[in-house]
């Protein structure tokens, strides 16, 4: 259907629209008009992606600025989903408008997922694929081949074929999902990865993962060409602060150091070799450095540096590479000294946490390494590796890590900390030291994005409380909005259970969580819900450790035997393959017979990105609040930083973080308006946290359900399931939670009469809430 928001014609690919979708689009448009950032929380399963895309496309095609759209999502499957959605949207638009628009939409993912080269694609590790690809495609090999046609070099045909074409003609105009793109490229022997990379500037809409914008190692090359007025959308952004932090953090282990030493020794040999065979090459490089040339000057336009700069481009030093690392030999000995120093630091027997500054000071005292050459470390390594044409990937990767570490630690001071932990787990006898350089300030990595682009939209199904994100990421919003869900009948039942059937308070608090009475109460709750839940049921625990201990206690108490009478039990493990097998079995069991229970972990793979729609999940049971492991040094440092710099109290942050994960778990079962499910939060401490849940969940949570015991919750659930079992008339939804065109127009007219339509939205929402309560 086609309708107008103010003066903007929006083509929406369905004949009916949810009221919240309309509101959502209005708010996005307002943000874009105002030219600022916004945070929007839209209930899961209400067609967030399609509303985002249809508005963004409409906005782009209608206004003369033709602002590009960058849509960032989290995982490859989500990106693919968005691409397919976009494809069908464009098909619909073509039908509606009567002609195909000149519109390009492409998605980008890692080489690992896109590579077509018969040998390289078989590699299992993503980094190895990247390296092998880079070796074959970075132009150096090609030049060699041109000079000497018999040279023993391997080029990637898929990449070479691109040279014979103009970038505009790589793929025809239109939207290509990954599947379609790979098929298209396979037929024509083209490299899909580079096709997309080179076409970024021609695309009307780009869909890729956050990392391409946030990680300085890749954002500089991939997203540089994107113009400033582009519209940036971060979808599923509830974890965006963690992504920001990860992109500037690095861990080193003894193994890495050992391999790096080997890599450095290999470099020495290689330099020696090259000096004898072709000393001119090293001399050339050296002279260029003396003349103050930097890596970007020396590389060809299309060539990728072997080592990416790990720091944000504005933090790069703009001067010549310092004299003491100009000669290859000097630089290698410099690297060796640095590695040896790191090795001595690894020998600690207790945890050390220090600032980058004190690390540098100590480093200088022991090894006479100054701060400045360290800053240039990754760039210098990149040039050297290029000159020497190093081929060993494994050891080179370790060296790359070292150089990255050196550059990071010497560039950043505030908001970073270095933590050296000698033992992997507490009370371990064998030391396995790990050196973590951690970013504590999520705003550093995302700052360039906010500075460059005028409109950034951050959205997710569960992003409450909204004001935490602007604080943590240090930006200002023009709009923050959380939408309620309009429903014809109450189709989900959130409950907070605080007591067991015997009125003992239940909690996963560390001190009491292994108490037999609490374990038994959780167990009996599981049994009771297993009895009355039809089909699938998902149970979330705060951690693997707790899950294991509680399952073994249930086993001795005979609770699992009881559950087995009703459902099959499956468990998530840290191993990805095992988990996917468990998931598959779970789905099979839900589709046939009595259904199954999946025991999983709140921060695990299952809790993010895997949907349990319809019969795959009728009940979700959250056992305990999923707090982070508070003894973790990194978390402690981050909490301290947040308190000092952003005035966020420790407990506030911990509870915020726990609740966003809990909400994320709850959202797994409700994937649309025709879906229904029971959500149980089982912990005494949830009772006071209602206002930290997303609005759409809190809206369904009546005050009477805040403090239930197990038997009361069971009674509620029985009643709820009985109402759900009644046949529904799809017509009930119309006008309330689903608008057709006339109803939309009616709504728009009403609001225009009232003057400014947007001021009244909150009132409108109250109305719809009332509807739900009445039903």
């Amino acid at each position: 259907m086609k309708f107008y928001i103010d003066d903007l014609p929006v083509i929406f690919p369905y004949p009916k629209i949810y009221p919240e979708q309309y509101q959502y689009m209005c708010d996005i448009k307002k943000t874009l008009d105002a030219g600022g950032n916004s945070i929007l929380e839209m209930p899961s399963g209400t067609g967030k992606t399609v509303s985002l895309l249809s508005l963004a496309v409409a906005y782009q095609t209608h206004y003369s600025e033709h602002r590009k759209v960058i849509y960032c999502s989290r995982t490859m499957s989500e990106i693919e989903k968005a691409l397919v959605e976009l494809e069908s949207l464009m098909d619909y638009r073509a039908k509606e408008l009567g002609h195909r628009e000149h519109f390009r939409g492409l998605g980008l993912t890692s080489r690992k997922n896109l590579c077509l080269h018969p040998k390289v694609r078989k590699e299992r590790k993503g980094t190895v694929v990247d390296e092998k690809c880079r070796r074959m495609t970075n132009g150096q090999q090609k030049r060699k081949l041109e000079q000497d046609p018999n040279a023993n070099v391997e080029l990637c045909d898929f990449h070479e074929n691109l040279y014979s074409m103009e970038p505009e003609n790589y793929v025809p105009v239109g939207v290509f999902s990954f599947e379609k793109l790979i098929k298209y490229c396979e037929e024509r022997t083209m490299c899909p990865y580079f096709t997309v990379r080179r076409m970024i500037s021609m695309c009307n809409i780009m869909i890729y993962s956050y990392h391409y914008l946030l990680d300085p190692k890749i954002s500089e090359r991939v997203s540089r060409e994107v113009s400033k007025d582009a519209i940036v959308i971060f979808d599923e952004a509830h974890n965006i602060d963690n992504v920001c932090i990860e992109s500037l953090s690095l861990d080193l282990t003894n193994d890495v150091l050992k391999r790096a030493t080997k890599g450095a020794n290999d470099l020495t040999d290689k330099i020696h070799e090259v000096r004898q065979v072709d000393s001119q090459k090293l001399q050339d490089e050296y002279e260029k450095l003396v003349n103050g040339l930097r890596a970007p000057d020396m590389l060809d336009e299309s060539e990728e540096p072997p080592v990416e700069s790990p720091v944000l481009s504005q933090d790069l030093l703009k001067e010549a590479i310092p004299g003491n690392i100009r000669r290859a030999e000097h630089f290698v000995s410099f690297l060796k000294r640095f590695i040896e120093y790191l090795k001595t630091r690894m020998k600690v027997l207790h945890v050390i946490s220090e600032t980058p500054n004190s690390f540098l000071q100590h480093l200088k005292q022991l090894t006479f390494i100054e701060k400045k050459p360290l800053r240039f470390c990754s760039e210098r390594l990149s040039l050297l590796v290029r000159t020497l044409e190093v081929s060993d990937i494994e050891e080179f990767n370790a060296l790359k890590d070292i150089a990255t570490f050196a550059t990071l630690i010497s560039t950043y001071e505030d908001g970073f900390t270095l933590i050296i932990e000698p033992y992997e787990i507490e009370n371990a006898a064998v030391p396995n030291p790990i050196m973590r350089f951690t970013c504590l300030d999520a705003s550093i990595a995302i700052k360039p994005v906010f500075e460059k682009f005028s409109s950034v939209i951050i959205t997710s199904g569960t992003i409450s409380p909204l004001d935490m994100y602007p604080k943590m990421l240090d930006f200002e919003t023009v709009l923050q909005e959380s939408y309620a869900m309009t429903l014809a009948k109450k189709s989900f039942l959130p409950m907070i259970v605080t007591k067991g059937s015997d009125q003992v308070a239940i909690s996963s608090r560390f001190e009491i969580r292994n108490d037999p009475s609490i374990v038994r109460n959780y167990g009996s709750m599981l049994v009771e819900f297993a009895k009355i839940t039809p089909d699938g049921m998902v149970v979330f625990f705060p951690s693997y450790l707790y899950m294991e201990s509680i399952i073994s206690m249930w086993q001795t108490m005979g609770i699992l035997d009881e559950v087995w009478k009703y459902k099959l039990i499956l468990v998530e493990t840290p191993d990805a393959q095992e988990t996917s097998l468990a998931l598959e079995t779970y789905r099979k069991a839900c589709s046939n017979g009595r259904g199954a229970i999946l025991l999983s972990v709140a921060r695990g793979k299952v809790s993010e990105g895997i949907d349990f729609d319809h019969h795959f999940g009728r009940t979700v049971l959250m056992i305990g609040i999923p707090f982070q492991y508070t003894e973790s040094r990194i978390l402690k440092a981050r909490l301290e930083f947040l308190r000092e710099h952003y005035q966020i109290r420790e407990n506030d942050f911990l509870s915020f973080d726990a609740m966003r994960h809990a909400a994320q778990c709850l959202g797994r079962v409700l994937r649309g308006k025709d879906d229904y499910g029971v959500m149980v939060l089982a912990d005494r401490r949830f009772a006071r946290k209602k206002n930290q849940l997303p609005k759409w969940i809190a809206q369904g949570l009546s005050d009477a359900d805040l403090n239930l015991s197990t038997d009361m919750a069971i009674a509620n659930t029985k009643q709820f399931l009985r109402t759900m079992a009644q046949p529904t008339d799809p017509k009930d939804q119309e006008g309330v939670s689903l608008w057709n065109y006339e109803q939309l127009i009616k709504y728009q007219n009403e609001h225009q009469k009232k003057g400014d339509g947007f001021v009244v939205t909150s009132e409108e929402k109250k109305d719809s809430e009332g509807d739900v309560a009445m039903m």
Binding site: G323, S333, N357, P431
Partner: protein, 326 residues
């Protein structure tokens, strides 16, 4: 200790004792030849005075007092760092000594690196040593000054770290205190309200009153925290490190954006001026000898004449205020 794959590392090559038999064994090296010997062997062999290195084929004479613990696992790096220590004690110029001339500094850094590399790899050792000695002789004063300076830097760095750590701790304590007091206050208010309601008539009034008293109770800890924050703001060490930045901020207001007008409002053309007095001076030897130049005189006069023109102080005050605010 770190478990290493090669066992040889933990065995003394002289007496063949390993860590399994004597867990607290320590290894020492002598900077003459960097051969690793365990502590007890060093005591045994060298306590009677200098002796030959017990390694086969090594004919270096070693002294006990030169033995030291190895900092780095890699002997080559250990050796290099020792050489570096010696060289850097002499070649200790910093960028400041080059008046910020980056190119010269880089060249200097490279030279030093060459010296270290040569000494380390035994290339032209004699001539390099010679170079080192001559440089030391020539720049004795500078070297001393730089050593002193680096020591000072180190001291102030350590002091600053200590200071910051202390302040952090204090702040944390106060914050915790405030939190506790707030909690106690809330508890007190709750109880007080219940107590008073039992006797009073208008409960709304009581609640308002109690809440007001709680608000007025500004704890001493809070005041202390404010004081501490003030101290932190004018942290003496912060100004040392960020001296340049800070100075710019505190500089007093001057018109012409700092006493210097870059865009001159006049053009100097000597040929147009005809001043017989100055012309006559121009030909006098005693004036020319002391550096008299007519154009400078004209320039000065014109500057004086144009001084202050086009300078609207109120405007400039505004812009500087704005910039300081932003």
């Amino acid at each position: 200790m770190v478990v290493d794959d090669d066992e040889k590392k933990d065995m003394c090559p002289i007496c063949k004792t390993d860590r399994y038999l004597s867990p607290d064994m320590r290894f020492l090296v002598n900077p003459e030849c960097y051969h690793k010997i365990c502590e007890s062997c060093v005591d045994r062999i060298f306590s009677l005075g200098p002796a030959q290195c017990p390694y086969e084929g090594c004919d270096k004479i070693l002294r006990k007092n030169k033995f030291k613990t190895q900092v780095f696992d890699d002997v080559k790096v250990e050796k290099e760092v020792d050489i570096r220590k010696r060289v850097f004690n002499v070649f200790n110029k910093t960028l400041d000594d080059f008046d910020g001339d980056l190119q010269a500094h880089n060249k200097y850094l490279e030279e030093v690196e060459d010296i270290v590399y040569n000494l380390d790899n035994g290339i032209e050792v004699a001539s390099t040593e010679e170079k080192l000695r001559t440089y030391e002789e020539l720049n004795k004063q500078l070297i001393m000054a730089n050593i002193k300076r680096s020591r000072q830097d180190l001291d102030s760095f350590e002091q600053r770290q200590k200071f910051e750590k202390e302040m952090k701790l204090k702040k944390r304590q106060l914050e915790r205190q405030i939190e506790e007091e707030e909690l106690a206050n809330r508890e007190w208010a709750r109880r007080e309200i219940i107590n008073q309601i039992s006797t009073a008539e208008d409960p709304e009034d009581v609640i308002a009153h109690v809440k007001k008293t709680v608000k007025l109770k500004k704890s001493s800890a809070r005041r202390k925290l404010e004081d501490l924050n003030k101290v932190l703001k004018n942290n003496p060490y912060m100004t040392v490190s960020n001296g340049l930045m800070k100075k710019k901020d505190v500089k007093p207001f001057t018109p012409f954006n700092g006493d210097r007008e870059l865009h001159k409002r006049y053009v100097l053309s000597e040929s147009h001026y005809d001043d017989p007095f100055i012309k006559s001076l121009q030909s006098k030897k005693e004036y020319i000898a002391s550096g008299f130049r007519a154009d400078l005189i004209y320039d000065r006069m014109l500057t004086e004449a144009f001084m202050g023109l086009g300078c609207i102080i109120s405007e400039e005050m505004q812009t500087t205020q704005l910039s300081s605010v932003s």
